[in-house]
């Protein structure tokens, strides 16, 4: 089998060789034409190029699709732009030889628009049907599902029989089935078989094809199509549920991250820390700064940002504790006022330092994109990571509080300050550390949030209230409560949203919390000891 493929490949090669020789001149002409062509003419040129050069044109299309195709103003030669450690260089499109000493003004970009991009994707897919790696072939086929025209079908038909890879074959089979099913002149039996095969797929294009078939004039076909759609819908429903659950969990993880720091400063120390949101904000800005410092290592920046953010926010926390909170012990409601003042100051501070505009924090490549489980269910990677991260932080925190001596002291102080003092615990030190810890974790949360939302002076304000709700709902001073509360609220919101819409969902959740607190005045997991009051 393999040999056979190889054989046809080189056959292709042999055949195409003389033609190539003949056509080189024409191709070059096309190239020069491409340079500086009007958007509307370009598609035509590209078509000609595709048929002329076949697979060999791929690199050009790729570069063009990536928006990196330039031409040298002087001689209209095409070059591809690429970045190397921050400085832009240009290379030949077909053989990766570097084109030396080209400055920005020597070259001009060849623009593409959506139409062209669409065309290029298909073209690349068509060409890639015969690519080496099966995965590429498969994605190529799936890409084509939506635009099945006679020509592609022909190609698929003669590739189908001798396709070695099972999955690719499946995909091709699907494509062909779609085609057969849609052909009214074919025998009903064949079409029914085709529909049968379609009913096993979750692809959108398949579903749309079937929906078209329900307008078919043959009752049998209609019936079959509807049956198939039924099946698909059934399966899709299950995945939809999973999807929604994931959304809920993801929102929950964000709430958890935002509130867990507060669970310490507020829950354990009883400080109503209105500046908590700004601690998160500081974390986010730290991420931004880190990325400024290491622009070429965005992928690793996060790993630097996390400890950095922890330190920055943590130190700020210690500072606040030493300067302000320390003087307000036993007056929780007054810490509210002081910390509110602090939050105002911090906001204005970043506004003056970083300007009030949002700052760009780019997502590491390994965090972008999504994990395609199947055509209807795909989980976005960044949220997946953040979910995991939130849980990680939570566990780490629990360990710190339960296993380390700091944790022991913290709990001692939170339960009975004076007794702890009497036993020789350095309460001042513990307070500073606790507050630092809480703030630091808020900072880490900031790193995570910088991947989801905009990094601006108001970042903190957006989360402060939710955080308080989560902590109070969970039970002040109880980490587990915070965890449960965060996920409960997250999931609840997400399952309400489809029916009620975002705003009403939020309102309902709030009202629910208010009523719940009437029933359980100390939250889900009431805490023993006096820290709460």
């Amino acid at each position: 089998m393999r040999q056979l493929i190889a054989l046809c490949c080189c056959l292709f090669g042999l055949l195409s060789f003389p033609i190539q020789a003949a056509e080189t001149s024409r191709v070059d002409a096309l190239f020069t034409e491409l340079a500086g062509a009007k958007l509307k003419h370009m598609e035509l040129i590209l078509e000609q190029l595709e048929e002329a050069k076949g697979e060999a044109i791929l690199p050009l299309f790729r570069v063009l699709l990536g928006g990196d195709l330039y031409y040298i103003k002087a001689n209209k030669n095409l070059v591809g732009k690429f970045d190397d450690q921050g400085k832009t260089l240009y290379k030949q499109v077909f053989n990766d030889t570097l084109v030396p000493n080209l400055a920005k003004r020597d070259v001009k970009k060849i623009r593409v628009n959506n139409k062209l991009r669409g065309y290029l994707r298909n073209a690349i897919a068509r060409i890639q049907l015969t690519a080496k790696s099966p995965s590429v072939r498969e994605s190529a086929v799936r890409e084509l599902l939506s635009k099945l025209d006679a020509s592609t079908v022909v190609i698929l038909e003669d590739l189908y029989p001798n396709e070695p890879n099972k999955k690719v074959k499946e995909a091709m089979g699907l494509a062909l089935a779609m085609h057969t099913a849609s052909q009214t002149e074919l025998a009903v039996s064949n079409r029914l078989v085709a529909i049968e095969t379609l009913s096993t797929s979750l692809e959108n294009d398949v579903r749309n094809a079937l929906t078209k078939l329900t307008q078919d004039d043959n009752p049998a076909i209609i019936k079959a199509a509807q049956g198939a759609l039924e099946q698909i819908a059934q399966r899709a429903k299950r995945f939809a549920f999973v999807d929604q659950l994931f959304f809920g969990l993801s929102l929950g993880s964000v709430l958890l991250l935002a509130s867990i720091g507060l669970a310490i400063t507020f829950g354990v120390m009883g400080v109503i820390n209105m500046a908590h949101g700004e601690m998160i904000m500081l974390g986010a800005y730290t991420t931004y700064v880190v990325q400024l410092i290491m622009p070429n290592y965005i992928d690793y920046s996060i790993w630097v940002a996390i400890p950095a953010a922890f330190l920055v926010s943590g130190l700020m926390g210690v500072l606040i504790e030493r300067l302000v909170i320390r003087h307000l012990h036993g007056r929780p409601l007054e810490t509210l006022l002081a910390t509110f003042g602090i939050s105002l100051i911090l906001q204005q501070l970043v506004r003056t330092i970083f300007s009030p505009l949002n700052r760009q924090v780019s997502t590491p490549s390994w965090m972008s994109g999504s994990w395609e489980i199947n055509p209807v269910l795909s989980l976005t990677l960044n949220r997946l990571y953040i979910l995991a991260f939130a849980l990680l932080v939570f566990i780490a925190l629990v360990i710190i509080l339960k296993k380390t001596s700091l944790g022991l002291n913290v709990r001692a102080v939170s339960q009975n300050r004076n007794m702890a003092k009497a036993m020789g615990v350095k309460t001042n030190w513990v307070d500073a550390m606790t507050f630092g810890l809480g703030s630091g974790i808020a900072g880490i949360a900031g790193v995570a949030l910088s991947q989801l939302t905009n990094v601006g002076p108001n970042l903190g304000q957006a989360y402060i209230i939710d955080s308080f709700m989560v902590v109070v709902f969970g039970g002040v001073g109880n980490l587990l409560g915070t965890l449960v509360a965060a996920f409960t609220l997250g999931i609840a919101t997400k399952f309400l949203e489809p029916t009620t819409g975002a705003v009403l969902a939020a309102i309902l959740v709030l009202v629910f919390i208010i009523l719940f607190i009437q029933k359980r005045p100390k939250g889900l997991f009431p805490q023993k000891g006096r820290a709460a009051e």
């Binding site: 929780p332 409601l333 509210l336 003042g341 602090i342 105002l344 304000q461 308080f468 009437q518």
Partner: protein, 377 residues
């Protein structure tokens, strides 16, 4: 009637700041008004209409601060949701003013306010009915906040939700209302709220005389509420309220149903807030969901903290000072005023735990120790 006056006269002994306060307040009010009406615009003593509306606004805030102080300073209940009651009162007034526009709206629709016309609502929602009657609107301005406070307080205080939990719940309350009023489906004008008012009781809101009268009315109401509150708080009821702040369980063991005391005080405070809101809207010219935002409610608490909680006069002074400072700062140093304000809050909580009145008290005690002794009488 005589008995009521008797009841008041008795309070005089305890509320010894009351008289001077009322005198000064009304005095300043009348002077300012006169200066605005009768002096030529170029004289140095002329008080511009801008100042009048500004002062009017301050007085509304002072009234609001009074409400917060009554519940926080005297009963120890820190409400972070008083903005809600204020805004509800304001909306009641706003709806009345909206209905007053009548067919002078840009679309000339006799019944529907403009924002309803261009989001093409077909008929007036039920809760707008009757709002064209001044008395009814004013009734709503006090009844709605009062009712909300009653329901909330009744639930919360009976199940003994206290301290931080209560504060956060009040915050949740106002936040929920904020979101609700943002929704355009609610029929309260969404984010834009209610604005472009023309007349109140037939008097044009643009005219100085109306502004002055609104200003004077605000001052009058403020003093009346001040006197009543002073009296209430110096009655035995007031003493019970203090015991709730200091040792609630004890006063239960003496036989006081503290939860009921709290509920009624909460309602009273909410009603004052509602009145403040209703006076605020015609002087400022717009009411929108922003008033519900939790940050506003926190600011109110800070006014009281600055002035000195537990003393009505302190609340008033705090509100006037902070807002005056805000006005000045936003004009003088638009880029840095938040620093100043923030620093102010921090410093006050750190060094003046009893607020300005606390300082005043200390000074007095320092210079006139004998008097300090009497003051406990």
């Amino acid at each position: 009637m005589s008995r009521l006056t008797a009841w008041f006269s008795e309070g005089r002994s305890s509320g010894k700041h009351t008289l001077p306060f009322v005198v000064i307040l009304l005095g300043v009010t009348l002077l300012a008004s006169a200066a605005n009406l009768f002096l030529p615009a170029d004289s140095a003593l002329y008080v511009s209409t801008y100042t009048i509306t500004l002062l009017g606004k301050y007085l509304c805030y002072a009234m609001l601060a009074l409400a917060v102080d009554i519940i926080w300073g005297y009963c120890g209940i820190l409400s972070l949701g008083h903005g809600a009651f204020f805004a509800l009162g304001g909306y009641a007034m706003g709806m009345y003013l909206m209905r007053q526009i009548g067919d002078r709206g840009v679309y000339g629709d006799p019944l529907l306010p403009d924002f309803m016309v261009f989001l093409d609502w077909k008929e007036l929602p039920w809760f707008w009915l009757g709002m064209d009657q001044f008395w009814f609107a004013m009734l709503m301005a006090v009844a709605v906040p009062g009712l909300l406070a009653f329901v909330f307080g009744w639930l919360a205080f009976r199940s003994r939700v206290t301290g931080v939990y209560l504060s956060i719940m009040t915050q949740a309350l106002t936040y929920a209302l904020l979101l609700a009023f943002f929704r355009n489906e609610m029929g309260f004008g969404g984010n834009n709220g209610l604005t472009d008012f023309k007349e109140i009781l037939g008097f044009s809101l643009q005219s100085d005389s109306t502004r002055i009268s609104l200003f004077i009315i605000t001052a009058l109401l403020l003093s009346v509420i001040f006197v009543i509150s002073q009296r209430i708080l110096s009655s035995r009821f007031g003493k019970v309220v203090l015991t709730i702040r200091d040792a609630e369980s004890r006063s239960r063991f003496i036989g006081y149903r503290t939860d009921r005391y709290k509920v009624w005080l909460f309602v009273y405070s909410a009603v004052i807030a509602g009145i403040a809101g209703a006076l605020y809207v015609p002087q400022v010219g717009i009411i929108n969901p922003g008033e519900f935002s939790p940050v506003n409610s926190i600011e109110m608490v800070i006014w009281v903290a600055v002035g000195g909680r537990g003393t009505l006069i302190g609340a008033v002074i705090g509100a006037l000072l902070v807002n005056y400072a805000k006005t000045r700062f936003t004009a003088i140093m638009p880029d840095a005023w938040l620093f100043a304000l923030g620093a102010m809050f921090v410093l006050v909580t750190l060094y003046l735990p009893k607020g300005l009145m606390g300082v005043y008290g200390q000074l007095k005690a320092k210079y006139r120790p004998t008097n300090a002794k009497e003051s406990q009488v």
